[in-house]
Amino acid sequence: MIPVSHILILSATLFFIGMYGFVTRKNLITMLMSLELMLNSVNINFVAFNKYLYPGKLDGIFFTIFIIAVAAAEAAVAISIIINLYRTHKTIDVGAATELKH
């Protein structure tokens, strides 16, 4: 039997891998990919908690579903922004996005 903590450690590791990617990547698309990894690690947690700690409930499952839905929407929006950025700046380097603050 695998204890729930192992699954949590897995998800945590995945999360920090995603975080590492998010911080180190310069390319917006790869940053988005890192973000997806982090979201997935969270999903793993939800499902694991639901299964191991509260099998009688569905809350974790539903959270996962909603997160996936939100992630899809977010990815779509992000991609559209990235493409738009690329059209105007001919680059998707994250440094170019600092122009947003002006």
């Binding site: 180190t24 994250v94 996005a97 603050k101």
Partner: protein, 642 residues
């Protein structure tokens, strides 16, 4: 005890004059203001004379003692149980005496001003200020409560300020008014603290209660006041000395006298009223009011004695050297008040020993008449000569015979020549000092000789010395200026004959004063000698005064410069208070306190500039901060604050 309802009106009538003329005078009574003022004052005087009659001859004397009568009293402001300011009218021999003096001198000045101030732009304002002063002074003398006295004391001060600065366009008048008020205010600080101390130990502000509590040797209040001490001096002595400081300020005692000579910038009738006859003797009156306490407390009475004695001599010396006639009179006033003070200082509490007290009040009484006469006479002279300086006068006796005669009577009175008023009061003072100490007597005698000298120096310089050759044409004034001179001259000549001790004495028991003929010879001789010296030096123009001045050399110069007291004060205020206290506080406020507030603001600004860099717009950096923050919170909550 009833029957004194009218006394209240002696206070109200001047108030009516003040309010009526102050608010509407400019518009409606610009011409008639004087008559209104005189009329109201006439009523006041009549009422106070009636009060005096009633008190002294009808119902004041019960069981051989003049009773203290509270004619009127209501609680004005309660501080704490027992300690309250009561507004009241207390009648006892000295307050009734002062009531008469103040109202009658004020009436004289009101009448005199009709002519003197005629044509002034602010004629009505002048009369309203006079009304205010009269009210305040009357309120002061009838006070039943220490704090009531302080209030009227301040009001007297402010009306003096307003009247000195009446010619507000003259910078010297402005400066003088300012000086007068500030110096007396400084003295009042002492008075106020003294009041607080006496009220604290006496448990009341009422004169009678304080005296009762603090003069009973066994009472707990007395013990508390005499055991508590500061710098080795008992609290009671401190309190009385501080109260005396207030009196000394008002009465221009050394070293708080500097304002009085300058106060002569005011219109001369004002000087006659305020700075000669009434307000300046308030200090003496104050000490007399609290005399039972002073008499029990040797140390503070000693101070009163020494200050009075020194001022009397000091002012007399200066008076001999001044050339401005009003300043001579001012220094003479100081000197005479010094007489009154030290007369109180040598007095005891019982019977014959209390002669000093009677003498002091008597001198106050007579002095009010002859000194206001001197001032009014000087005012008449100044009015027509348009100068205060002796050198512009001389030989005026032919032009102004009535003024001359009145002035002569006043001079004889102040010099102590019988049978004029001053003789009797001064004799009593000298007698009282003689009984106390031979040294005090000697100094008093010298001073009285000097008095005779400088007064006749003044007299001869104005009316004799040379033929008048000025530009103006002096002549006698209008009727309104003559009448007060005549009345006051008659009073100056005759009031000395009043058996004063019968009415005013330390225990309020009629005191039989004996007239010692043998004793009087020496003072008379000295007085006559003073007059003769003045006659020799000033009757005709000659160079004796110069020779004399040269003989005294530096001393003369110092006296002529009033012993540099003004310079000393100027140094203290300008260089010490302004330069070393005022300016640093202003600087400290702007630079340090305000500066630190500004610095705090700047610091905030700088910090915000510094942390602005964090807001770089770089997503990854934000992410780092975000994770860092979460890590921090986890550490904080899970591991540190577990």
């Amino acid at each position: 005890m009833g029957g004194y309802e009218h006394t209240l009106w002696t206070l109200f009538l001047p108030v009516i004059s003040f309010v009526l003329l102050g608010l509407f005078g400019r518009k409606y009574f610009s011409k008639s203001a004087g008559l209104i003022g005189v009329f109201l004052l006439l009523l006041t005087t009549a009422l106070s004379l009636y009060t005096a009659y009633q008190y002294f001859f009808v119902n004041g004397l019960v069981d051989g003692i003049y009773q203290k009568i509270d004619a009127f009293k209501f609680t004005w402001l309660t501080f704490s149980p027992g300690v309250s300011i009561d507004m009241g009218i207390m009648l006892d021999p000295i307050s009734v005496m002062m009531l008469v003096v103040v109202s009658s001198v004020s009436l004289m000045v009101h009448i005199f001003s009709l002519g003197y101030m005629k044509g002034e732009e602010r004629f009505a304002t002048y009369y309203s200020f006079l009304g205010l002063f009269t009210f305040a002074m009357l309120g002061l003398v009838v006070s039943s409560n220490l704090f009531q006295m302080y209030m009227f004391w301040e009001l007297v001060g402010i009306s003096s300020y307003l009247l000195i600065g009446f010619h507000f366009q003259r910078p010297s008048a402005v400066a003088a008014s300012k000086k007068a008020f500030i110096v007396t205010r400084f003295a009042d600080l002492g008075f106020l603290i003294g009041i607080l101390m006496l009220a604290f130990y006496g448990g009341s502000l009422d004169f009678n209660t304080i005296i009762q509590h603090l003069s009973a040797q066994q009472s707990s209040a007395y013990l508390a006041a005499t055991t508590a001490s500061f710098l080795g001096v008992t609290a009671l002595t401190w309190g009385l000395t501080l109260v005396f400081m207030g009196g000394a300020g008002k009465s221009a005692m050394f070293p708080l006298h500097v304002w009085l000579p300058d106060a002569m910038e005011g219109p001369t009738p004002v000087s006659a009223l305020i700075h000669a006859a009434t307000m300046v003797v308030a200090g003496v009156y104050l000490v007399a009011r609290l005399f039972p306490l002073y008499a029990l407390n040797g140390a503070s009475l000693e101070i009163v004695l020494n200050v009075g004695l020194f001022t009397a001599l000091f002012a007399a010396i200066i008076a001999c050297t001044q050339t401005d006639i009003k300043r001579v009179l001012a220094y003479s006033t100081m000197s005479q008040i010094g007489f009154m003070m030290f007369a109180l200082g040598v007095s005891g509490t019982q019977g014959e020993q209390g002669l000093g007290y009677t003498a002091s009040m008597f001198h106050l009484f007579t002095h009010a008449f002859f000194k206001s006469l001197l001032f009014l006479g000087a005012g008449a002279v100044i009015h027509f000569v348009h100068s205060n300086e002796m050198k512009d006068m001389g030989g005026l006796r032919k032009w102004m015979p009535l003024t001359h005669l009145a002035f002569l009577i006043a001079c004889l009175a102040i010099a102590g020549i019988p049978p004029f008023a001053g003789f009797f009061s001064k004799e009593e003072i000298l007698l009282a000092t003689y009984n106390k100490s031979i040294w005090v007597y000697a100094i008093a005698l010298i001073t009285s000789g000097l008095t005779a000298f400088y007064m006749f120096r003044l007299y001869f310089s104005i009316f004799w010395r040379k033929e008048y050759n000025g530009h103006s044409h002096p002549h006698e004034g209008t009727m309104s200026m003559k009448i007060p001179l005549i009345i006051l001259a008659v009073c100056s000549a005759l009031v000395g004959l009043i058996p004063f001790g019968k009415f005013v004495s330390v225990g309020n028991q009629p005191l039989e004063t004996h007239f010692h003929l043998m004793f009087s010879i020496l003072p008379i001789i000295i007085g006559v000698a003073g007059i003769l010296i003045a006659l020799l030096m000033y009757k005709k123009e000659n160079d004796r005064p110069q020779n004399m001045a040269q003989a005294f050399g530096n001393f003369y110069r110092a006296a002529k410069n009033r012993f540099y007291m003004d310079e000393l004060y100027l140094f203290v205020t300008k260089n010490i208070i302004f330069k070393w206290v005022g300016r640093p506080s202003a600087w400290f406020d702007r630079k340090v306190v305000d500066g630190s507030m500004d610095e705090i603001a700047n610091l905030t600004l700088e910090t915000s500039k510094a942390i602005k860099g964090l807001q770089s717009g770089k997503v990854q950096r934000y992410a780092m901060y975000f994770f860092g923050g979460i890590a921090f919170l986890i550490i904080l909550f899970v591991y540190i604050l577990k």
